[in-house]
């Protein structure tokens, strides 16, 4: 089990109703973590998401480690 912090932005923040949370999880990859949280929150369909671990983009197979800071990134729209 890892203790991690997840932060939510934009459409996810509004959907979950908070900007972030500390979690204990048995997920071993960030993809598994996403599936676990999707079960809990039923994330909205927003197209392909990305993920960042400790302020860097990672792929969905990246491991979840104790103390990680994880952000799911919905499609961006800068400019």
């Amino acid at each position: 089990m890892a203790v991690i912090r997840v932060e939510y932005f934009a459409v996810l923040r509004e959907h979950v109703g908070r900007a972030g949370e500390e979690l204990r999880t048995a997920a071993t990859t960030v993809g598994e973590l996403y599936a676990e949280l999707d079960q809990r929150y039923a994330f909205p369909s927003v197209g392909r998401m990305k993920v960042a671990v400790n302020d860097e983009f990672r792929d969905w197979n990246a491991p979840v480690r104790d103390g990680d800071f994880i952000v799911f990134i919905p499609p961006v729209a800068g400019g």
Binding site: F9, E14, G79
Partner: protein
């Protein structure tokens, strides 16, 4: 020094002129994105930008560093607004200086294109009709499924 910054307050490109001025550079190309009063046929009254700032600054800076490596330019900088914006407000500014304008234009174009697709910034439009929506994040049921795509 990062070549990319967020601004929570309204700004004018003048404020960042020192980031791009260079005595060897005779050409300055810039792009500014302003808040329009419409989008895809709907009246827009206000905009909201939210950013994942820690990663946004890193990724934005990487984009500008790539431009500095690819094109024969002198300096380049990009600033993106966050928070609530009104119609006509400056949302994003890219400034590039170079000895020759070819490179200045090409690099400026590269930076705005990459920033728009790679930097974690989200835009919420508030419509004249009273509703609002996160751009690129509101999909109809016929669109692709959400979430990670497994390898």
């Amino acid at each position: 020094m990062s070549h990319f910054a967020f601004s929570r307050d309204p700004f004018t490109p003048d404020r960042f002129r020192d980031e791009v001025v260079d005595p060897v550079a005779g050409g300055y190309a810039s792009f500014e994105g302003w808040v329009r009063n419409h989008n895809e046929g709907r009246g827009v009254v206000r905009l909201e930008y939210e950013g994942y700032e820690a990663l946004g600054i890193k990724e934005g800076n990487r984009v500008v560093e790539e431009a500095l490596a690819r094109f024969p330019i002198a300096k380049a900088h990009c600033v993106h607004r966050l928070g609530l914006l009104d119609i006509g407000d400056l949302a994003v500014w890219v400034g590039v200086t170079a000895a020759h304008r070819d490179a200045a234009f090409a690099a400026c174009r590269y930076i705005i294109d990459e920033v728009k697709t790679r930097v974690p910034i989200w835009k919420k439009e508030h419509y004249a009709a009273g509703d609002s929506g996160w751009i690129n994040c509101e999909v109809s049921s016929s669109d692709a499924p959400s979430g990670p795509v497994r390898p």
